[in-house]
């Protein structure tokens, strides 16, 4: 039985449909690791808030899981500014600070020096580390992370992603992110939203197969390289060729090497897959 099922869900705000999954059913199965991606305003956070019943929606959501088995971390996690770190820890973890599990967690999340500080004095990264520690303390079966690394510097982001990787191997995970490399590291399924609509929901493997996507080969956008048989997507600075299979990949790379054109290669690149699916849906694919 799925942990969560969404059926015919839609959210309307001020006469505008901000999430439109009316003809769609989404099942979140135990063990799934789902990366939810989409541009700003595509409905990612709204969908999370529907799952958590934090906003009004139409349609049906079945939640076959208890509150205590769900761990949730949002992009902005508000704490009472008047509380101290040690106070929120003892409240959420429901044990003394001297407890060995707390001491171990403080060390693991590098929070030892912060315990006597007021929560209002913590930086964004410190607050996120503290929240992850509190979210995972009771070992929830379903973890939901909504853009938790937004606004963090590169090092903080990397350390948080490493932490999540080590913590979630045996759990069900829903992660919303703008960073494709995070999705690549943490998810095995993709849920792509655009303008409130579902563009795709499947395993990364299946999506690549459906869209005949074997690898991505990127070159500088301004470099002249013609190959009419190849599909490609463009970003601000790059032209990314999408190969269908190993044979095509080898041919392209050989030609690029022959023409002395520098390129980067990435197998099953999620950013390229996302851009392709999105543009294909918008019928703007070249």
């Amino acid at each position: 039985m799925p942990l969560v099922e969404l059926q015919q869900v839609s959210v309307v705000k001020k006469d505008r449909i901000i999430l439109d999954l009316k003809n769609v059913e989404i099942s979140i199965e135990k063990g799934d690791k789902i990366g939810i991606i989409g541009s700003n305003g595509s409905g990612k956070t709204t969908m999370i808030r529907v799952i958590l019943n934090l906003i009004n929606y139409k349609g049906t959501v079945h939640r076959h899981i208890q509150t205590k088995d769900v761990g949730i971390q949002m992009q902005h996690n508000q704490f009472s500014d008047l509380m101290k770190v040690k106070e929120i820890i003892s409240l959420v973890c429901n044990c003394s600070l001297a407890d060995s599990r707390i001491q171990e967690g403080l060390q693991r999340f590098n929070l030892q020096k912060l315990v006597d500080k007021r929560l209002s004095y913590l930086s964004g990264g410190e607050k996120q580390r503290l929240t992850i520690f509190l979210v995972i303390f009771h070992n929830p079966a379903l973890l939901i992370f909504d853009e938790i690394t937004s606004g963090l510097d590169f090092d903080s982001r990397n350390s948080i992603i490493k932490l999540i990787q080590s913590l979630t191997s045996d759990k069900t995970l829903l992660i919303v992110s703008h960073y494709f490399e995070e999705i690549e590291k943490l998810a095995d399924k993709l849920l792509i939203l655009d303008d409130g609509k579902l563009l795709a929901f499947d395993t990364i493997e299946n999506l690549c197969e459906t869209h005949q996507f074997f690898s991505a080969i990127s070159i500088d956008r301004d470099v002249a390289f013609e190959n009419s048989s190849l599909r490609f997507v463009q970003t601000d600075s790059q032209k990314i060729f999408m190969t269908k299979n190993q044979e095509e990949e080898e041919k392209v790379m050989e030609k690029l090497r022959h023409d002395n054109i520098p390129f980067t290669y990435k197998p099953k690149d999620i950013k390229t897959l996302y851009t392709y699916i999105r543009k294909q849906t918008q019928r703007e694919i070249v």
């Binding site: 958590l52 959501v61 939640r63 509150t67 509380m83 429901n94 009771h138």
Partner: protein, 261 residues
């Protein structure tokens, strides 16, 4: 245990880290008592009792009402508006226990405040404190009045997410109640219509009729007890409905056996 911790933390936060609550709930009633009893003198009002004996009822009301109708609802709404309450819920903390802890903390402050008023009045104005059954009965009546006022505060805190609205509504209610129950002037001088209407409001009894228990004239104010219990049932139902609406997340997830982690 978690909620004892929360009560302790909340008590520290409210009493030691929010100076305005300390002022209004602890110092303001004492100040008012000094001003009123000090300016008119602690005159005898019969049967060996003095003005201070009567004024501690008013002082306790002056402390209790801002605590219950401003401090408590603002503390609930501020946590809702800022997202702190949502974060607690997402951590799996039961909203009923969060609100319950807040009520307990405010009740404790109300008791501290009343004890301080009594101790101060005993030392400065030689307050007469009844003994035995009268004192126990008075404490029980006081607690019932405090629970009623606190439940009004919880209801107010759940009605909206906007702190500004709750602040204005709480202050308006506070001043109206104090004015209509004899907090600012002698209750018997209020228009008859107002007095009749206020017989249906429990706080009126705290400010004006509890003195009969203190003076050992009555042991139980039956009208007050029955009416307050009835109000508590109604308010309890309203609070439960507001909580179901406000904290939907908590009530949304169901148990279908233990999930393997």
């Amino acid at each position: 245990m978690r909620y004892l911790r929360y009560i302790w933390i909340e008590l520290k936060v409210i009493l030691l880290r929010i100076p305005i609550v300390l002022f209004f709930s602890i110092l303001f009633p004492l100040m008012m008592m000094v001003i009123v009893v000090g300016s008119t003198g602690n005159i005898e009002i019969g049967d060996g009792f003095h003005l201070s004996d009567k004024y501690i009822m008013i002082a306790s009301g002056i402390g209790l009402i801002p605590l219950c109708l401003v401090s408590l609802p603002v503390s609930i709404t501020a946590e809702r508006e800022s997202g702190v309450m949502e974060r607690y819920l997402l951590f799996g903390i039961n909203p009923f226990a969060i609100l319950g802890s807040k009520v307990v903390v405010h009740m404790m402050i109300a008791i501290i405040q009343f004890v301080l008023v009594c101790v101060f009045a005993k030392i400065v104005f030689s307050l007469t404190i009844p003994g035995g059954l009268a004192l126990i009965s008075f404490i029980l009546h006081y607690l019932l009045a405090a629970i009623f006022t606190l439940s009004l505060g919880v209801m107010l805190g759940l009605l909206t997410e906007r702190v500004q609205i709750v602040q204005v509504a709480g202050l308006a209610l506070m001043f109206s109640i104090l004015a209509l129950t004899g907090g600012f002037n002698e209750y018997s001088t209020l228009p008859e219509g107002v007095q009749n209407a206020m017989t249906y409001f429990p706080v009126k009894y705290l400010m004006n009729d509890f003195i009969n228990i203190w003076f050992t004239t009555d042991l139980i104010l039956e009208d007050f007890v029955q009416m307050t219990l009835l109000y508590l049932v109604v308010i309890g139902v309203v609070i439960y409905m507001l909580m179901r609406k406000t904290f939907k997340f908590h009530y949304s997830f169901q148990s279908l056996g233990k999930i393997d982690k």
